[in-house]
Structures are given as C-alpha cells and as structure tokens.
C-alpha cells in the first residue's frame, strides 16, 4: 500500500510495528505505520511528544536500541530510482555503512550530540573516516573546514579546532549538520532540529537546511511538533497519533482541509497571531498509555465524533483526495 503512494520513492515503509519491552509491560509504540518519501521532497512527521515520530524515523535505518524491537514491517530504501535495498534484511555492518553516509541524522539537542572531548573538525573528519572516505583524521580536516563554511559557520578554520563547549547552541547544530553532510547523504532525517534552540536561531537553521537541500538535491524527513515549521518547510505531512499515522496530505491541503478529528484539534491548538485569543485551545484528555492502547481507533477516547465502530475496529488508511489519506471511520462509511 505504502509504495503505491509515491512515484519515485527514496524510502518506503510498510506496516511497521515496533514494541518496547519495559518492566511495566510491552509498549506498542508503533502500530502499523506505512508511508513513503518522494525523492527530493521534504516530508514532515508531526504529532505530540511520545506519538512515535522519532521512533519511526530511527527505524528507517533500524536504529532502534533495546529494549525496543522492530516486530515486523518492510523498510525499503531506494538509493537510486529502480535500485532497492531491503533495510530489514541488511546485516549490522551493511546498515552501519548506510548510516551516516547515505542516510544521516540530525538530532534534537546539539549540546549533547557531539563528544565534548574532541574538536569539531576531528569529529566531522572521523565521520568520513569510519566510512572509508579517508584513511587518517588529518586528511579530513580541510574538508571539514569546507563543510563548516558550507553550513555558514564564520571563521571556520578556527571553529574546526574548537571544542563543542566553545560554540553556541546554533553553531553546534550547524556543526552537527556539517557532520551529516560529510559523506554522500541522500536522505537527511532531522529529528526536531530546532527544538532546543531559541526562535531566531531556529529560523536560521531552517533556512540553512532549505538551502542545503536545494544545492545538494537532498531529501529531508523533518520531525517536528511545530506547525509553523511544517507550513514553512514541508511538501507533504504525515500526522501521527499514539503510534499510528492518522492522516497524510500535501501541506496546503492539510492546512486548508484537515479531515481527521485529531488533525483538526491539533491545528486549532495553534494560536493565530492575528486574532485576540481568549483561551488557548487544547485537546481534551491525555495521550493513551501504549501498554494498554485503546481498542479500535486509538484516538476514540478523546474524539468528539466517536461512534460505536471506533471502539471496536481500527479504521483503514484510505484515500480521500489527491494524495490525501486519512484513517478515520467518519470517512470510511460513504
């Protein structure tokens, strides 16, 4: 099903299930997620904290550490059109060669993503070293400086010799972005890249990502809970709730015509700066406990339009318009 939604996919995820085996019980974190990312687009995953956006993005290179486990599902990576790699069948070593080379990550907190004991230049260079592009750290330093320039770090020769603690948060995130560009990235997975940064830096980092994408022809998977960023950056959006993809649509379509009750509530919760706000909207209820997820549609306990079917059966992910898909019984009946 997932593959059908894209013409030239770079990643196709089908029917992904991920559980976390904790002391409290089995957390059913990802429950049958399917989606695909078109080559060259910016795809966004949105949803509240704990809905499984990060886990899903990490699963793309099987970067799920114990006690997490990918139970089943297919993850197909297309390095070039027509060439397919089955991520689930790769060995650890083959995966390692893809991670940080063709598929790279940018994590939320640049303050802790870098080893505090090594210089920025060393760590960028090391990223090339572990993928065999260079043989010694020293060979990579000039490339590292060039990458720092590309990510618009002023005084990049000096910065390459700096330690992470000598850089500001925004600079650190630029350095992290530079490491993710060090090899031959095709897909960059940016997991809330600006959440830990302040608002002005946020805009700069997003501008940088957008320019890099254009210059290098990258594909970006952006994970965020910031609807403003979604509107600004993304081509298509997938909305996740409690480990399930509940709606997917091109960005404009989603903002103009949100269908799933959760998506609607989510958009209502975003304050409009042009209107005087009496009371900030919120979604009643809380995110369900995923050890004992609600049966049927996982959103039904909080849904204003709940029906009998919702409590019993999981809705199908159906097509409701051009590239617009939703998983809700309200639209399945027609």
């Amino acid at each position: 099903m997932g593959a059908n939604r894209c013409r030239d996919p770079i990643i196709v995820v089908e029917d992904l299930y991920i559980n976390f085996y904790t002391y409290a019980g089995i957390v059913k974190a990802i429950d049958g997620v399917s989606f695909c990312i078109e080559r060259g687009e910016t795809y966004c995953l949105v949803g509240e904290t704990g809905c499984g956006k990060s886990v899903t993005s990490r699963a793309l290179t099987r970067l799920i550490l114990p006690p997490g486990k990918i139970e089943r599902g297919r993850i197909l990576y297309y390095p070039e059109p027509g060439k397919v790699v089955d991520i689930m069948k790769l060995s650890e070593e083959e995966l390692r060669m893809i991670r940080g080379d063709e598929i790279t990550y940018i994590f939320q907190d640049p303050g802790t993503a870098l080893d505090p004991l090594y210089t920025i230049g060393y760590q960028i260079s090391e990223t090339m070293l572990v993928h065999g592009y260079i043989n010694r750290i020293k060979e990579g330093i000039s490339k590292a400086i060039q990458l720092l320039k590309e990510t618009l770090i002023p005084d990049s020769e000096q910065r390459a010799k700096s330690y992470p603690h000598e850089l500001s948060g925004g600079m650190k995130q630029r350095a992290v972005i530079a490491t993710s560009l060090a090899n031959r990235p095709k897909l960059i997975i940016a997991d809330e890249p600006t959440t830990a940064l302040d608002a002005t830096v946020q805009a700069q980092i997003m501008e940088l990502l957008r320019n890099l994408k254009k210059q290098r022809g990258l594909t970006i998977l952006l994970i965020t809970h910031n609807m403003g960023l979604v509107a600004e950056m993304c081509d298509r959006v997938g909305v996740m709730y409690a480990g399930q993809l509940v709606e997917e649509a091109p960005t404009e379509e989603l903002f103009q015509n949100p269908l799933h009750p959760y998506t609607r509530a989510l958009l209502r919760a975003v304050p409009n700066p042009l209107k005087k706000i009496e009371k900030l909207e919120s979604i009643p209820g809380t995110v369900p406990n995923l050890i004992y997820p609600p049966p049927g549609c996982r959103f039904h306990p909080r849904c204003a339009h709940v029906m009998d079917t919702c409590r019993r059966q999981k809705p199908m992910f159906i097509r409701v318009g051009d590239k617009h898909y939703v998983s809700c019984w309200l639209y399945s009946r027609r």
């Binding site: 390692r96 080893d115 004991l117 603690h165 993710s180």
Partner: protein, 332 residues
Amino acid sequence: MADLRRFLIRRFITFIPTLIGATLLVYFVAAIVPGNPARLWAGGEKASAEVVQRIIEEYKLNEPWYIQYYYFMKMVLTGKAISPVTHTNVWAEVLDRFKTVTLPLTLLSFIFIIVIGIPLGIISAIKKDTVIDMILRIFALTGISMPIFWLAYLLIAALTGRGLVTLAGFPMPDYSITGIPLIDGLLKGDFEYLSQLLKRLWLPSLLLSYAGIGVLVRLVRNSFLDAYSSDFVDFMIARGFPRRRMYIHVLRNALAPIVTVLGLQFGGLLAGAVITETIFGLPGMGSYMIRAINNFDYLSLMAGVLYVAIIFMIVNLIVDILYAVIDPRVRY
C-alpha cells in the same frame, strides 16, 4: 601554559599546610598513646634511671606535645634525625626501604591494577548482564571483600612448591647506578636479576593489587556504562561508527573518575602494604612505620609519613594535570 605554571605554584604552596597537617595528626595520635618511650629506648625494664633521664632531656620528652612536635620536625627536616631505636639516620632507612622494596612493590601492584582492572571493567560493561559480566562482578567483589592474608597463605601453599615464588631474603644486584634495584636492573638489561626480583615480588604485588582491581573493575564498569548512555554515543551510532571506535570515545569520557581513584589507590599502595609486607617478609615502608609506632620511634615515623605524603601529593598533582589532558573543558 602560564595558567599551568600558576596552577603548579599554587598547588606547591598548598603542599606545606597539608604536610604539616598530616604529620601533626600522626604525631598527635602517636604521642597520646600511653607508654614510656624513654625507658623503652634506654633498654626496657633494666634501664638505669640515669640513662632514662638523659634521654628524656635529649628528646625533650618532658615538654608538651606541640613543643616535641616542633622539635622532632626540625630534626627530621634538617636531616639530622637519628632514630633512638635503631641509632641510624631516619632518612637513610626510609630511602633505602622505599627504593628497594616499596617502589617496585607499589609500581608492580599499580601496573596490575591498571592492566587487569581497566580491561576487565570494560569487558564487564560491554557484556553487561551476561554470564561474563556476572563472573567479573563476583571476581571484583571477592577482591574487595576477601582478607588478603587468607588468600596469601592459600596461594603461597599452592605455589611455593613449584618454584614460582620465592619468600626468603630480598635479591639485590651487585651494582648500583641510581640506587633503585628495579631501575638499575632495567638500565643494565640484567634480566636474570629482574626475573629474581619479579619472582620475589609478583605474588605480593598481585595480592596487594587485588582489592584495588576489584574497586577499579566496578568503577570502570559503571562509568563506562554511564558514558555509553550519553547522547553523543547515540549520534555516533547514527553516523555509522564501528563499535571499537565508539568504545574509545566512551572510555575517554569515562576516564576522569578512573584516574582520580587510581591516584588515591597509589597512595594506599605506598603505605598500606603492611599486611602484605608482613606475610611475605618484605622490608617496606608499611612495616617500617608499624615498627616505628610500636617503638614510639617518633622520628622514624615522622620521616616515613612525610615521605609518603609528599609522593602521594605529587601523584595527585599529576592526576589533576591529567584531568586537563583528558578533558579540554577543565581549566586551571
């Protein structure tokens, strides 16, 4: 570099009050122990009252303890102190014991602690919650809690018959370059002597180091795991780092507490080998100081404490400098 020099000067200045504190404390405890040192030094029960009186006057044993302390320290520091018990210069014996026995014993034990403790700790961390980890943790706990004399006699009984251990005497080379047999042997490349020395010292060193190894295995395991759970490790996995490379990063991040404890253990080895020295008949600093305490030999005691304290402080100074080598965030 200027920072380092300022730091060193500052630290050397703090050495002085530390030394005064250490010796004062030791002297105070030794001096309040009831007993009659003058009579003991004069030869015990049969000593004539005249000789006892002379000793009391010579060593100012009538004065309050702080005057005595000042007086003894002055004698020790000017190098003129003659032990009233052994009638030799206290420094001569301290240096002799240190150079021949305590230094090689300490170094060997220290090497054992490092080359056994660190790798086992890392293995224990990497194999966390497996059978290997459990065995290593039991091994470490045994080291911490096992009485050394019990294990020592067990191993002596098992090994002496096979010629792997020698217990009598202490081998000395027939030449002297630096006066330290271990270093002289190394300088000359005298492997026959070195093997004799090793045969005499490997078992006591190993036993002496066992407790330290136990502590270190647990410490390395925990700080390694601690560092391993950092976000930067996650990011290294995401960048496709092979395991061995990640372990190097993790180990360096875990190193600060390890180096601290190693520095403290070095001090413990220097002066805390009394039981080992007694079992193996080694004339080292530990037994020297015990003898000094038993004989109220304050001068020898002061010299021993001073010497050990100075070396201990230097080792800890090195540890402090190493912090900055390990971690660029550390500034003096």
